[in-house]
């Protein structure tokens, strides 16, 4: 019964608003010293729900496809985040290294500061707003012309759709590529949501840090006498900096 309930929740019916919308963003991640990754993220909106799905660049998929004996248990390492715009509940498919989990979060309204700066993005008049979320300061451009309180990744809660977002360290960026009003596939569904273990954000953090410590110990054991302090101080690059305890 529980999986059925979950599925019925995840496949949103869109009672309040029957039209569907698909917004495509270019997601840029460029951590210091690392190669810049450009991927595409699709934000589908239907009813009171929005679903952000990260499409990894084709080269990543090709690698997996080229491997003859690779059995992909991770669902393609796909990050997805479903938001109920009315209740502010968010469910995210994310990974503790390679293992996927479904993370449930409530009341994650961000404290936005709306400025008077404006610019046009794709013909829409956008206003600049800033916030701080999990260790990073973001500046976003939203348009009140599309009155939807959502945006790329986990950025939401503005009185209009977020068209562009960047963190002030210029490591993370989201930029509008296109807006389609009648996408071919309007279902909002988190991949394999029924079989994923559901956890809270705090549980996800705990699991992540436990796994990180065990990986560091493995690295130390294999390094053949490296300085443990050096290995212990390694902090992986992640969008959410407060992931580490």
């Amino acid at each position: 019964m529980k999986p059925l309930l979950l599925l019925s929740l995840l496949i949103a019916s869109g009672e309040a608003w029957t039209q569907t919308l698909e917004i495509t963003y270019l997601q840029r991640v460029s951590f210091t010293g690392k190669k810049t990754n450009y991927d595409t993220g699709d934000l589908k909106i239907s009813g009171n729900y929005s679903l952000y799905s990260l499409r990894l660049a084709p080269k990543e998929k090709t690698k997996a496809e080229n491997a003859d004996f690779l059995i992909d248990l991770s669902g393609g390492m796909q990050f997805q985040s479903l938001l109920n715009m009315v209740t502010d509940e968010r469910q995210t498919r994310d990974y503790v290294f390679t293992k996927p989990y479904l993370i449930k979060e409530k009341d994650i309204r961000l404290a936005w500061i709306i400025t008077t700066e404006k610019k046009k993005i794709g013909g829409y008049l956008a206003t600049r707003a800033t916030t701080e979320f999990r260790g990073r300061k973001y500046e976003c451009w939203f348009t009140a012309d599309i009155p939807l309180n959502t945006g790329p990744w986990k950025l939401s809660g503005l009185p209009g759709l977020i068209l562009e977002a960047n963190d002030v360290e210029n490591e993370i960026g989201f930029q509008l590529i296109k807006i389609r009003t009648h996408p071919a596939d309007s279902r909002l569904e988190i991949n394999a949501a029924g079989i994923l273990k559901t956890i809270t954000w705090d549980e996800f953090r705990t699991l992540y840090n436990q796994k990180l410590i065990s990986l560091k110990k493995l690295l130390y054991a294999k390094s053949g006498g490296a300085d443990y302090e050096t290995i212990a101080n390694i902090i992986p690059n992640t969008i959410e900096k407060t992931l580490f305890q």
Partner: protein, 864 residues
């Protein structure tokens, strides 16, 4: 009582501010609560606060002020019509409660596709990384086509690439340097569809031991390939025929341990391949210390020519590049190329055979760098069949070793040319770098060079002064020179925080012997030596993207060869550079001041004399002062395609002979002499603007020289000595020189998609692409000369060149298919016109016209 009143007053104020001011309410539709509606409180253009309704349709807004008299409450929802409620002081009671009913409706949502979404580039330190897919449309064939679309990268007509105004030194593919300085072989031929991203690395330092201490001055490009092309053959096969041909075949295979690129290209389109080879520099000594024989006085004038003859037009290149690791420690890379060219030749051909192998032996990784041996070489043979005798052999070899904190590089460059004007050049360099700590390094450099050359000058139609023999007017002069030079320098580099400090001591010595042999067998030989010592200091402060560099130097120069004599002069330079990710802004100030005072005794034997020997002695105490200063402003915004340079350089010379004593034979005379005084100012301004379809480049250089001379003896002195000789003449001379250069280049490019079958993603299209280029260059020089004997001798000369290029392509481009079909129409005209005349009725003109012609070709391209 007074204090009680004050406290009460403050409490009243707190109470007033502490009031719970809010606007709250419920948004409903069809009498049902509406969740996820946006409620914005707006004043003017500013959003004061906002709220989003919850599942019960309720909202609350707190942050508003009663100093603003009118607010607008805007309620929006994706499935409702927008509602606006005006609120004023009367309706805002401090605790306002509203029930807002919305009407169903639709919000117009136009579909949007942003072509240039994403910045497409990112910057980390000195590396700017460009995602190729953001700048290309799939119609690009070779690497150069892709590079030309990257902002900030400019490709000159000879194929040389610059990034943010600085010429790049090499192009690497996946970190492997296959082509060294001959990168244009790769950029003009290697297929472009395998490129994933391009990294432009500025301030690259080829010496790894200096990393994080000094900034290098090289800019390099690194081409990153798409991962799915790893281990697969890819390339391009292109065939085009019609009136002429343009064929090419390129195949490349990149694996982690092996890289291979093979290519062949041949064309009759006028594109040259001989210029793709960048010959290593074989001169290590500074230009100021090399001597040339003073035969500039016999400059031959241009001889009028008829229109140019019909030129040949075919060019071919074949090249193989290999890189790889034979073990985990050792690697190799390099290329072998052969070029055959007749384009531009009246007869015969030019061949180049080149090989650039490199071997790297990595032993281990160390603190500051890798413990590594590198063995590099370059061989080149140039064969000009047009004259058959001209053969140039070029050899460059170097060995470098880096061990822990020490690095050593030894290199030799040699060149010999066998012809009727043979030339030989040998240069060696030894450089040792020692890194004391993370912050300090010491560099010792020793260079030596030997040159030997012979030049033959035939049939002078001019007059050589000091020559009274009419036979010399049509004689042949042979000039032979050999020189030896050495350069020694010691540098100390240090970095502390934001400051980079450098101190250098250097010494350069050059000794040259040259002989002039006229046809009538008299030999003139001279020995010239020069020694220059320099002490310089430089400090650079970097504050993020802003850097400030100050450099001062003291130069001491001794020479026995006129006009270089003993000179001691300081020089200084200050550079302010602001370098954000999209632009470069320079401010440069510099100056030098030289002064000299000495007594010289010349026993001068003229270089060319007739059979009578003229011996002349001059004793002259003289002084010389030179000062110059400059200002340079450069602004380069590569994203917007703006490039502005402006400079102002002022130079002043003042020299005088206090009193000159001359003696020739039994006579000796003494007379005062003055001047000359020269003031020279030049200004330069250039601006270029690149638009998507139209590129405009305009450049103007203008300068003026004012040269005033008073020499000889003054009239009073003349009256006393007039009986001595009629050869002593006072001279007053003033001249003005105004060169003016104007360059205009315009490129119009239009690309039109005629059929677009799939608008949503990749384009299957028929494209019409036109490219029209027009270049016009004009140099005008005005020269006015007034002297005691020639009162007014104005001259003007100008030369100009213009070229036009028309290219139209009709191309069928289908990214789903590997075939491209194109029809190309081309018309190229190059015209160079050099009329050259003076007002004294001597009119000489040279006209060269080279029309490469019109052609229509049809071709297919296969990408694999």
């Amino acid at each position: 009582m007074k204090y009680t009143c004050l406290i009460c007053f403050i409490l009243v104020q707190f109470c007033a501010f502490g009031q719970n001011r809010f606007i709250k309410g419920q948004v409903r539709i069809n009498n049902k609560p509406l969740g996820s509606a946006n409620v914005l409180l707006i004043s003017g253009d500013s959003t004061i606060d906002f709220s989003i309704t919850d599942s019960t349709g309720k909202f609350i807004i707190r942050n508003y002020s009663d100093t603003i008299h009118t607010y607008i409450l805007q309620i929006t929802h994706i499935s409702c019509e927008k509602k606006i409620i005006e609120l004023n002081q009367n309706s805002l009671s401090g605790q306002t409660e509203l029930i807002i009913a919305m009407q169903p409706g639709t919000v117009p949502l136009p579909e949007v596709i942003i072509e240039s979404a994403g910045r497409g580039y990112s910057q980390k330190g000195d590396t700017t990384s460009f995602a190729v897919k953001k700048y290309t449309d799939g119609s690009e064939r070779v690497l150069e086509d892709i590079l030309s679309r990257i902002p900030g990268i400019k490709i000159a007509e000879n194929g040389k690439i610059s990034f943010k105004g600085q010429e790049i030194s090499r192009v690497m593919i996946e970190g492997t340097d296959l082509y060294k300085t001959n990168y244009r072989i790769a950029t003009k031929n290697v297929t472009g569809r395998v490129v994933d991203s391009i990294e432009a690395i500025e301030n690259h330092n080829p010496n790894p031991l200096l990393k994080n201490i000094t900034k290098g001055n090289e800019t390099i490009l690194n081409i990153k390939l798409k991962d799915d092309h790893e281990g697969k053959w890819s390339g391009i096969a292109n065939m085009a025929a019609g009136k002429g041909y343009d064929n090419s075949l390129n195949a490349m295979l990149f694996r982690k341990n092996r890289q291979f690129v093979g290519l062949y290209s041949g064309n009759t389109t006028g594109e040259l391949y001989t210029d793709l080879i960048e010959t290593p520099a074989n001169s290590i000594l500074s230009a100021s210390n090399t001597f040339s024989v003073p035969i500039t006085a016999v400059q031959a004038p241009d001889i009028p020519q008829a229109s140019a003859a019909k030129l040949k037009n075919s060019s071919h290149i074949a090249s193989i590049a290999i890189g790889g690791k034979n073990t985990t420690q050792n690697s190799f890379s390099g290329h072998v190329s052969f070029i055959h060219n007749t384009t531009g030749q009246v007869k015969g051909s030019v061949e180049r055979y080149i090989a650039y192998p490199d071997s790297i032996f990595l032993r281990s990784k160390q603190t500051f760098s890798e413990d590594v041996d590198i063995l590099s070489a370059a061989f080149e043979i140039l064969n000009k069949r047009s004259t058959r005798k001209n053969i140039v052999n070029l050899l460059n070899a170097s060995f470098s070793r880096a061990e822990r904190v020490n690095a050593m590089t030894f290199g030799s460059t040699g060149m010999t040319e066998k012809s009727n004007e043979p030339e030989m050049n040998l240069a060696h360099q030894l450089q040792i770098t020692t890194r004391y700590s993370e912050k300090d390094a010491f560099i010792f450099t020793l260079q030596s060079q030997y040159d030997d050359a012979r030049q033959v000058y035939n049939n002078f139609p001019g007059v050589y002064y000091h020559t009274t023999d009419p036979a010399s007017l049509t004689s042949q002069i042979t000039h032979e020179s050999s020189s030896f030079g050495s350069y020694l320098s010691a540098q100390y580099h240090s970095r502390k925080g934001k400051s980079r400090f450098m101190v250098e001591i250097s010494n350069e010595y050059v000794a040259s012997t040259f002989r002039l042999q006229p046809a009538y067998k008299q030999v003139s030989q001279q020995l010239a030596t020069s020694n220059t010592s320099r002490f310089s200091m430089q400090d650079e402060f970097s504050f993020g993207k802003l850097s400030f560099t100050a450099r001062v130097a003291m130069n001491v120069q001794f020479s026995n060869f006129y006009p270089e004599k003993q000179k001691i002069f300081p020089s200084s330079r200050v550079v302010l550079k602001w370098s954000p990710s999209t632009a470069n802004v320079f401010l440069l100030f510099g100056g030098t001041q030289q002064s000299m005072g000495e007594v010289n005794l010349f026993i001068q034997k003229p270089l060319l004399t007739d059979y009578r020997t003229i011996r002349e002695g001059i004793l002259e105490p003289e002084y010389f002062t030179n000062a110059s200063g400059g200002f340079l402003y450069a602004y380069n915004d590569f994203l917007r395609g703006i490039d502005i340079t402006a400079s102002l350089i002022w130079t002043g010379n003042e020299s005088g002979i206090v009193r000159r004593y001359t003696f020739s034979g039994i006579n000796s005379r003494a007379f005062p002499a003055y001047g000359p005084y020269t003031y020279f100012t030049s200004t330069n301004f250039s601006v270029s603007k690149y638009l998507p379809s139209l590129s405009l480049f305009a450049k103007m250089d203008a300068s003026y020289h004012i040269n005033s001379t008073y020499s000889g003896i003054d009239p009073v002195t003349l009256s006393r000595y007039r009986f001595f000789s009629s050869r002593i003449m006072p001279e007053i001379r003033s001249s003005f020189l105004i060169p003016f250069n104007f360059t205009l280049k315009a490129i119009w490019e239009q690309q039109k998609v005629l059929v677009d079958q799939n608008n949503s993603s990749l384009l299957r299209s028929v494209e019409w692409k036109t490219r029209i280029r027009y270049a016009f260059i004009k140099y005008l020089q005005l020269f006015f000369d007034a002297s005691l004997y020639k009162l007014w001798n104005p001259q003007k000369s100008f030369q100009e060149s213009q070229s036009s290029f028309f290219n139209a392509e009709l191309k069928y481009n289908n990214p789903d298919s590997k075939w491209q079909i194109r029809i190309q129409m081309q018309n190229i005209t190059n015209q160079r016109l050099i009329p050259n005349y003076s007002f004294s009725d001597i009119l000489m003109s040279t006209e060269e016209t080279s029309v490469l012609g019109s052609r229509i070709m049809a071709g297919v391209t296969y990408l694999f």
